[in-house]
C-alpha cells in the first residue's frame, strides 16, 4: 500500500547535501554525493549494506564530518558550525538509531525525560510529565512508562527510540533502518508510525532502509545509493522500472516474482 503524498514545494529545501565525499582510510564510501530533502517530505534512501547510507545521515546530524563538500541543514552549514551551534541545530533533528540506542540504565520515562530536562531547563515537573505522556501516547506505548529497556520487545524499543527523538519536536527526522530485525506485522506498525509522525508533527524525514515494503509504504520520493553515488531517484515505480543488474535483485528479493 502506498501513502497519500503531501504537497511538496521544490523551493523549500531543508537539507542540501552538495558534492559530499567520505572515506575511511583507503575505503571510499561516498563520492560526490548530492541530495535534497524538501520540507514535509519523506525521502527513502535505498542501498546495499556498507554503501554509506548510515554514514550519510551521521554526517547530516554532525556525528561525522565529510572529507569534501557541503551539508546545509535548515539553512546552516553543518561543517562550519561550532560545537555549541551544532548542539543547538541538533535539537531540530531527530535521529532514530538502528538499535534504538535506549539508555539501558534508565527507565522508559527517564529515557524520554533525558533530552527534555537537559535542553528545556525551565520546564516544571508537571510539564515534563505531560510531554512524556503525550509522546508515549503518540507511539502507542503509554503502559511501558516505568519499564526498563531490557523488558521491551524490539518493536517497542524502536517506538520508544522514536518517541525520545520526538519529545524535542524536531523539524527533521532521520531513521536508520527503522524496520531492521522486526517481524512483518511490527514492520507495518513502524511504517504507519513514520507516516503518523510526518502528519502529526509536520516533519521532513530521511529513512534509510533496504526493506522495500517499508520504502513503498512511507516514501514520497526514493533515491538509490549505488557504488557510492545516488544513481537513481524518483517514485518507487520509477526506481524499479529498469533492467539494471544492480537494482533488479532488490526488487526480486523483496517481491518474489
Amino acid at each position: 500500500m502506498e501513502k497519500n503524498k503531501p504537497v511538496i514545494d521544490p523551493q523549500d529545501v531543508v537539507i542540501h547535501v552538495d558534492n559530499v565525499s567520505k572515506s575511511f582510510g583507503d575505503l571510499h564510501i561516498l563520492r560526490d554525493v548530492d541530495l535534497k530533502l524538501y520540507n514535509r517530505e519523506n525521502l527513502v534512501v535505498l542501498g546495499r549494506s556498507g554503501t554509506g547510507k548510515s554514514v550519510l545521515i551521521k554526517m547530516i546530524s554532525g556525528l561525522l564530518m565529510p572529507d569534501a563538500g557541503s551539508i546545509r541543514v535548515l539553512g546552516q552549514e553543518v561543517t562550519a558550525l561550532s560545537e555549541k551551534e551544532l548542539q543547538k541545530l541538533r535539537l531540530r533533528i531527530g535521529f532514530s538509531f538502528q538499535n534504538s540506542a535506549l539508555y539501558d540504565s534508565m527507565t522508559v520515562r527517564e529515557n524520554l525525560e533525558f533530552p527534555l530536562v537537559r535542553n528545556k531547563r525551565n520546564l516544571s515537573r508537571a510539564e515534563i510529565d505531560r510531554e512524556v505522556e503525550d509522546v508515549l501516547e503518540g507511539v502507542g506505548l503509554s503502559q511501558a512508562i516505568n519499564q526498563m529497556p531490557s523488558e521491551l520487545s524490539g518493536g517497542q524499543r524502536k517506538r520508544i527510540g522514536i518517541a525520545r527523538t520526538l519529545i524535542l519536536r524536531p523539524d527533521i527526522m532521520l531513521y536508520d533502518e527503522p524496520t531492521a530485525g522486526l517481524d512483518p506485522i511490527t514492520c507495518l506498525e513502524i511504517n504507519n508510525l513514520i507516516n503518523d509522525v510526518q502528519a502529526r508533527y509536520n516533519t521532513s524525514s530521511i529513512i534509510i532502509t533496504h526493506d522495500l515494503a517499508c520504502a513503498k509504504q512511507v516514501s514520497d520520493r526514493m533515491v538509490m545509493l549505488l557504488d557510492g553515488r545516488f544513481e537513481r531517484q524518483g517514485t518507487f515505480h520509477e526506481i524499479f522500472d529498469t533492467d539494471d543488474a544492480r537494482v533488479k535483485p532488490f526488487y526480486d528479493y523483496n517481491f518474489i516474482r
Partner: protein
C-alpha cells in the same frame, strides 16, 4: 648483494619503528586533548550534579563491602607478619606505631587505588564501551546533550572525590584489623592502641595520604573513561576496554606512587 639486502632490511625496520612512534605520538596528542577538554568542561556550566551524586553512590557506596574486607585483611595480616621480627628485637610494643605509619603512609591509599582500579576501573571502562557499541553516546550527542560532560566529567570527579573517602575508611578499618591481630595474642586496650597510633601519625602524613588518594582517584577515573570512551566497536571492544582500564590504571598508579614517594621524601 649483501649490502643491498642489509639496506632494505634496515629501511623496513626504520619505517616500522617510525610508524610505531607516530601511533604513540598521536595517542599522546589524543590523551592531551581529552585532558584539556576535561578541564575546560569541568568549570563550564551546566553542571551535572545529579549524575555526579549517582556516580559517587555507584563508585563509592557500592565499593564499601569489598574495600572493608580488603582493608581489614591488610591490617590484620600486616600486623601478624610484622610481629615476629619486632619481637626478635624486643620491640613488640612498637607494633601500633609501625602499622599506623605503614597503613597511613603507604598501604591505605595504595590498596584503595588498586582495588578501585579493579572494581571501579573495569566498571567504568565496560559501561562506557558498551554505551559506545550500542550508539548510546551518539544518541546523547544528537539529542543536544554533551556526553563528555555527562559521562566523563561526572565519573572522573566522582572517582577523584570517592577514592580519598574510601582511603580514610580503609585506613580506619586497617587499623582495626591490626588491633584485632594484636589482641589475638596480647592484651592491649583500644584506647592505648589508638593513642599510640595518633601519637605516631603526623599531620603531614594525613595530608600526604589525601594527596595520594586524590591523584590515584583522578587517575582511575581519567584512564578508565578515556579507554571506555574511545573503545573499538564490537563486543570484543567492551572486554578489551574493561581489561585495559584495569591494567593501565594499576600501572599508572604504581608509577605515581613511586614519584610521589620521591617527591615527599624531598619535601619532608
Amino acid at each position: 648483494m649483501t649490502c643491498f639486502w642489509f639496506r632494505s632490511v634496515l629501511e623496513k625496520q626504520l619505517i616500522s619503528m617510525w610508524k610505531k612512534i607516530r601511533v604513540l605520538l598521536l595517542e599522546f596528542a589524543k590523551i592531551h586533548r581529552f585532558l584539556m577538554r576535561f578541564f575546560r568542561e569541568v568549570v563550564s556550566p551546566p553542571f551535572e550534579f545529579k549524575e555526579f551524586i549517582r556516580q559517587c553512590y555507584e563508585i563509592g557506596w557500592k565499593s564499601f563491602p569489598l574495600i572493608s574486607l580488603t582493608g581489614f585483611i591488610v591490617g590484620f595480616v600486616f600486623t601478624k607478619q610484622s610481629r615476629p621480627s619486632l619481637e626478635e628485637f624486643g620491640a613488640s610494643s612498637m607494633i601500633p606505631a609501625l602499622i599506623s605509619i605503614a597503613i597511613v603512609r603507604a598501604l591505605a591509599p595504595l590498596v584503595t587505588a588498586l582495588i578501585g582500579s579493579g572494581k571501579i576501573g573495569s566498571q567504568i571502562g565496560a559501561e562506557l564501551s558498551s554505551m559506545n557499541v550500542t550508539e548510546q553516546i551518539d544518541a546523547m550527542e544528537v539529542s543536544g546533550t554533551n556526553p563528555f560532560k555527562f559521562l566523563i566529567v561526572s565519573r572522573v570527579l566522582a572517582t577523584t572525590f570517592m577514592i580519598p573517602v574510601l582511603t580514610f575508611y580503609v585506613a580506619g578499618i586497617g587499623l582495626m584489623g591490626g588491633y584485632l591481630s594484636i589482641i589475638s595474642k596480647d592484651q592491649l586496650s583500644m584506647l592505648s592502641f589508638f593513642s599510640q597510633v595518633f601519637n605516631t601519625i603526623k599531620m603531614v602524613d594525613v595530608f600526604a595520604m589525601t594527596f595520594r588518594a586524590l591523584v590515584f582517584g583522578f587517575t582511575i577515573g581519567f584512564v578508565s573513561t578515556y579507554v571506555g570512551y574511545f573503545s573499538s566497536k564490537g563486543t570484543e571492544g567492551v572486554g578489551k576496554a574493561a581489561n585495559s582500564a584495569v591494567v593501565a590504571s594499576m600501572f599508572i598508579v604504581f608509577i605515581e606512587e613511586l614519584l610521589i614517594v620521591q617527591l615527599l621524601s624531598l619535601l619532608t
